[in-house]
Amino acid sequence: MSGIDSGGIGPGGAADRLEAELAGLAADAPPALLDRIAARRVHVAGPLEEGPLVGVQVAFTDRGVAYLRVGMGEREFAEAFRARFARPLLPAARPPAGLVPALRTGRLGGLALDLRGLGDFEAAVLRAAAQIPRGQTRPYAWVARRAGRPKAVRAVGSALGRNPVPLLIPCHRVTRSDGSLGGYVFGADAKERLLRAEDVDVDAVAELARRGVRLVGSDTTGVVCYPTCGDARRIAPGHRRGFRDLAAARAAGYRPCEHCRPA
């Protein structure tokens, strides 16, 4: 490039040296740069060994797990991810640490999630749903209240239906207060299988709801719970009392459980 670099300053050698030094300023991209741009994809085992939930595909970024779907081909998964996240998706050598145990146990543990791109309400709904312990259920209204919008029960259903990481954020543990299970992103059948696999007595809860019982109290402690709360399950049959709602329980002198926080 001596043709454009003949400013006549110093000997020709100086010009070449400056150009060579500039060329020496080239630097390779740091190894972690790609992970700031692209997400990674893996196949992992689902929580159930048969039925609609085998064949789990997961996409994760350098911040955490961003997307989980079941029963999709690789191309379908890639297209769904792209439509939603508009980010490159490349194969990963191995799943992120903690993912496989989280799916096996139904507990998130220390697994990081990448929930960027969600609206404030959606994120609040998912954070609330993430608090529901394995083996327990909560009504949509409970999630709505925890998400800061007690009246937005239908919107909770929509937000859970858009859950990018089902199973990890256990939206299957959110059920209707009439005792039916309600919808699920992977289908009602999958929801019921998951809850039964977590030892939720789906039939007993439905039977209680049919009798108008949505909360269960202990007449020895005076505490009232959702029926699937660990505390409620420990109440001896002789001391169980059923209530239609929290107002009825309060009127009878009961106070809400600190663990399941019935609304």
């Binding site: 670099d5 300053i9 400056l18 500039l22 300023l25 080239a26 991209a29 740069l33 692209a38 998706l89």
Partner: protein, 215 residues
């Protein structure tokens, strides 16, 4: 996907895919992009990550900011490609197209720079390791590199961009003209004046009391 992105080239550099002289892998990258967007993106990143990161680093002068600019440029490129018709992808000249996006991202960042707190200067950041060099070579290069990198910051934006693209990124003048959306003659003049200014600054910087890199 609707793509309206002011950082994207207004008229993407079209023509025969991949300049056989300056960009031998361009055609392969384009072929991979046409086959599969994600696999093609991996090829695009592999082929141009050094060019994009080097350019970003020497334009903005700060390691962390260079990572931000590079990540942003690659992400915008991916989002644009996702919205392009196959014919448009096939006609792409990926290197100037990608560097145009980077240059625009950089210029946008300059406009909003006043709103951001200053990051750590490049002098505090580690220089990139180069496994092909001996320790002494690296040390020597690092000393000149730091001085010269700081002097680049003193050039006016377009001169800096032209000098960096020509001599750090090693782009032909015709591609620089496409990247900066300038006539080739103007690019040559920017390069020539930029180099002359660097020599002046270097001569002045050897005097005590002068400090390069402060704008």
């Amino acid at each position: 996907m609707t793509v309206t992105d002011e950082a994207l080239p207004r008229s993407p550099a079209a023509g025969p895919a991949g300049d056989p002289v300056g960009d031998p892998v361009g055609a392969e990258v384009v072929a991979a992009l046409v086959r599969d967007l994600d696999v093609g993106f991996a090829a695009l990143y592999e082929a141009y990550r050094g060019a994009v990161f080097s350019t970003a680093l020497r334009l903005c002068g700060r390691w962390a900011e260079a990572e931000d600019l590079s990540a942003e440029a690659f992400l915008r490129a991916y989002r644009a490609l996702a919205g392009y018709a196959p014919g448009r992808v096939a006609a792409l000249r990926p290197r100037p197209w990608l560097l145009t996006i980077l240059a625009n991202v950089w210029r946008n960042s300059l406009r909003s720079a006043a709103r951001r707190p200053a990051a750590a200067p490049l002098e505090d950041a580690p220089d990139p390791p180069d496994p092909g060099e001996g320790v002494e070579d690296v040390a020597a290069r690092r000393e000149t590199g730091r001085e010269l990198a700081a002097l680049l910051a003193a050039l006016p934006e377009m001169q800096r961009a032209a000098v960096v693209l020509r001599h750090v990124t090693d782009l032909p003048v015709a591609e620089i003209a496409a990247v900066l959306d300038l006539p080739e003659g103007t690019v040559k003049s920017h390069i020539s004046r930029g180099l002359a200014r660097l020599r002046e600054l270097r001569a002045a910087g050897r005097d005590p009391g002068q400090k390069g890199g402060v704008r």
